[in-house]
Amino acid sequence: MSSTTNSPTHHTSTIGAIGAPSRRNTELALLVFAVVIPVFAYANVGLALDDQVPAGLLSYGLGLGLLAGVAHLAVRKFAPYADPLLLPLATLLNGLGLVCIWRLDQSKLLQSLPNFVTAAPRQLLYTALGIALFVVVLIFLKDHRVLQRYTYISMFSALVLLILPLVPGLGANIYGAKIWINIPGLGSLQPGEFAKIVLAVFFAGYLMVKRDALALASRRFMGLYLPRGRDLGPILVVWAISILILVFETDLGTSLLFFGMFVIMLYVATERTSWIVFGLLMSAAGAVGVASIEPHVKSRVQSWLDPMREYTLSRQGQLGHSEQLQQALWAFGSGGTLGSGWGQGHSDLIRFAANSDFILATFGEELGLAGIMAILLIYGLIVERGVRTALAARDPFGKLLAVGLSGAFALQVFVVAGGVMGLIPLTGMTMPFVAYGGSSVLANWALIGILIRISDTARRPAPTPAGNPDAEMTQVVRPS
């Protein structure tokens, strides 16, 4: 049997675990912690709102604990050397999201809205489906390198997923952004969430083959390595596609995620800073260009630049304006450093999408700066574990895939948090794990599943060195 091993060309050190303890017990302890925190929050919301511990506390705690337990057992069985942090971090975020959604369900103001649905039970169902998908990924994806075979199939299916919302009759235009598809009987789905995983597979497979050409054939100019004209091809194509997404689906988030992930992976594959410079210039040019033409994007940019004006116009009853962003900013502001406490904020004034796109504002108001920092740190830790997995992975495909997935995750958190906090124009994406939405929860659990699979392969101990045959034969003779 001959096995061909390929290894990255440009890194300076390899990192591997010695002895590699499986750390499953650490994971279990953290997981118990990660289930207890949301249960505490749930009790806290009930006490603040109704002066009593909510009736569903036991069933809710058991439900979340059961789901986490199933996921843990699956990891123990199918990925015993996986990273101990990824699963507890994701579980905690998911649990906190459930509590926050349940808390917003209790709001009288939101209940009076015409399109109100009790979102928490649905979100619990989505979480169960998400964890089921996570387990399925662990069972059926025995080796992440299998995905390498589907490089171009991935490209094709990602393009199909991205185009689906534009298909007449299937796509749904919800509040200006065309990123949903309607599945009769099942509800709506955001294919873009799944496209990000499939695209990471394609980019990893493609860049693994092409990176030498992209990295080495370049001229040096003013301290930067300029790529040859023909090597600019791929980045131009990806840029053009992301601009098309922006124009036709009017969704800045997906477009930014798509292009940003490619630039990150290109940089990691080639180690050329010039790609980042090119990427930033191209995305800035594209965003400015489209924002000045496309009316929906233009209005988003205007409400970002002057949310107060937007608020006033909306109060005066003018159509096409929204007070959400200003309300979210006020929610953050009234939260202060330590927050108002669970159940005691007024973030329901955001009204529509308070529990999906704007859920971070509720956290900001009720947990304050201290809470939001902890939550952002937890996201940061997930990304760190992903990048760490990429460092430890031995095969270049696994490295690139792990970087791509964690990069996409980081970009999504940045785009959503930045949008809600007024740093960048608001986009139609959801906060991974926390926000209400089935596609997002399902896709992100699948993403964590793939990262756990790669980290299991990366952290699996190298075959133990064979014992010295002479040493084994040495006999110790003790005088008796």
């Binding site: 390929n6 290894s7 953290l30 406490g341």
Partner: protein, 176 residues
């Protein structure tokens, strides 16, 4: 519910949330110190101080074992190597089962073990069994040479069990 209880719960929740973050960071910390970093460009003795115990034991034990291998050909059947293990370099931990096939080493993409080593030639060396089943290493005219233990190869040479074959910064051993 009294104002005081809610304030205590509010601050308690933030404390618990941060405690989780700190515990998670502690887990990462223990993970950091449980790893070894193999620096390229530094000598291997300097690069792995923590790991000293295991390799030293192996190095000390190696010479008598090699003498035993070269001396007694009758023991070959029992001590026949079954796999080839990369022990140093970027591919550390890679193993290839020995099943009578020729193993090529080099930077070329069709090599059995594709070396990612600045000092390796594209077709650097090959390892093959002779008629008697003894594994032989042969340098294929590489630029920087192939070393068996400490000596540079000039002709096809039998490989003793456990002796390192060095190509640039990569070391390969045959093991049972």
């Amino acid at each position: 519910m009294s104002e005081l209880t809610l304030t205590v719960m509010r601050l308690g929740f933030l404390a618990v949330l941060w405690l989780f973050v700190i515990v998670a960071v502690q887990v990462i910390r223990s993970d950091l110190f449980g790893t070894r970093v193999t620096q390229r460009g530094s000598r291997r003795e300097a690069a792995r101080p923590q790991q000293a115990a295991r390799p030293q034991a192996r190095q000390q034990a190696a010479p008598p074992q090699q003498r035993g291998q070269q001396g007694g050909s009758g023991r070959r059947g029992r001590n026949a190597p079954t796999k080839l293990v990369v022990t140093e370099g970027t591919l550390t931990g890679t193993t290839v089962a020995l099943q009578g096939q020729t193993i090529t080493l080099g930077r070329a993409h069709d090599s059995t073990i594709v070396l990612d080593d600045d000092y390796a030639s594209s077709r650097h060396a090959r390892i093959y069994p002779d008629q008697g089943g003894q594994w032989i290493v042969e340098d294929l005219g590489s630029t920087n040479g192939t070393y068996l233990d400490r000596s540079r190869l000039t002709a096809p040479t039998p490989i003793p069990l456990g002796a390192p074959i060095r190509i640039g910064k990569t070391a390969i051993e045959l093991r049972k």
